[in-house]
Symmetry: C2
Subunit: 191 residues, 2 copies
Amino acid sequence: MKIDLSKHLTLGARRTLKAFRVAMFELLSEKEFDKITVNDICEACEYPRATFYNYFDDKLDLLEYLWSHIAKNILNQLPNDEKNDDNLIKIFNLLVNFFHDNPALLANIKKNDGANSHLWHNLSGYLKHEANQLLYHSYSDSKEQNVPVELLARFYSDLVIGMLEWCLFENPTIDEKTADNYLINLLHNNF
Amino acid sequence: MKIDLSKHLTLGARRTLKAFRVAMFELLSEKEFDKITVNDICEACEYPRATFYNYFDDKLDLLEYLWSHIAKNILNQLPNDEKNDDNLIKIFNLLVNFFHDNPALLANIKKNDGANSHLWHNLSGYLKHEANQLLYHSYSDSKEQNVPVELLARFYSDLVIGMLEWCLFENPTIDEKTADNYLINLLHNNF
DNA sequence: AGATATTAGCCTATACTTAGACAATATCTT
DNA sequence: AAGATATTGTCTAAGTATAGGCTAATATCT
């Protein structure tokens, strides 16, 4: 990344970032990542290559930016007023729904199973990180402290991403209710 | 219009124009033209007001630019290799289809019937102009010269836009076949 | 294997967009 | 009808994108 996302961005910079994000997202539903060229991306969003390189080191850089943006955005849909155990289920369902809403993207991620299953590891890493952050803040002011909050958040985010991975890759036809029940059972030692 | 569309435009300028066009088009399906503010437009396409005024005098200016763009684009779909009498029917059908594909826009144009029926006159003027151009070039090298080509093109474009207006406003449920037949009958003095 | 074409990165002057402030109207509120 | 709020249209310095040209590295073709 050539620019600092934490600094203030002009409207134009935000527009440009969004355009590249959308272009990459759409291309990922059409082609394998390795088949996508910087030219493809620039053509799709109607920006010149020079602008691409003003923002990103290369297409992997853009991809990772996209993943982190997606991860943040999916989980931002959570109503952050209530902080209870349901949050984990809600997070899980938001994630599952995202992939159900974008089947072409998921198919493409699955397809790259050889040298490029790193697409999924890459994305799931960002998802886990965001879930972790969310859960950490969600529990940081709770009373039950038999276990450090950091560890708890880590345990939960591992659980939810593991569950997601199992559903998407091993059991893609599972329905929401059943999946939720499995998750609840795991959570409550209900084996 | 603050810029000269006939001159060469940079990629960025073309992107900006497109963004404003799309924003106006989408807003026209939601709100009446008079209720749309420059701020609405800029918000919709994520450009600052300053940029709007770099390109357009005001929102009417943008509207007219949009109409002329739409007119050109609808009629550009015509295969321009063959030049025969069918062209008129094809032009008519392209126009009808455009409005069938954009019912919300049409509804909004119809709604503004008081002080603002000029929305339709404005748009139909551009449509007629483009149809005229097309027909003029279509017949300019034909042999039959009992009537000047300019007059013929004018006669035809008046006919096709009149027919369109009648279909859209007086007889919105008419089917394509019937409308085509009426047009053919008018064309061949088959009253 | 050698020729040809595509792609990746980078560079620069020029042209463009931007933020934000401004006065002048218009529109809403009570 | 008066005061608050929203909108219009203009301006400028500073920030940003653009064209298009360049080399090196990879593909792709024959």
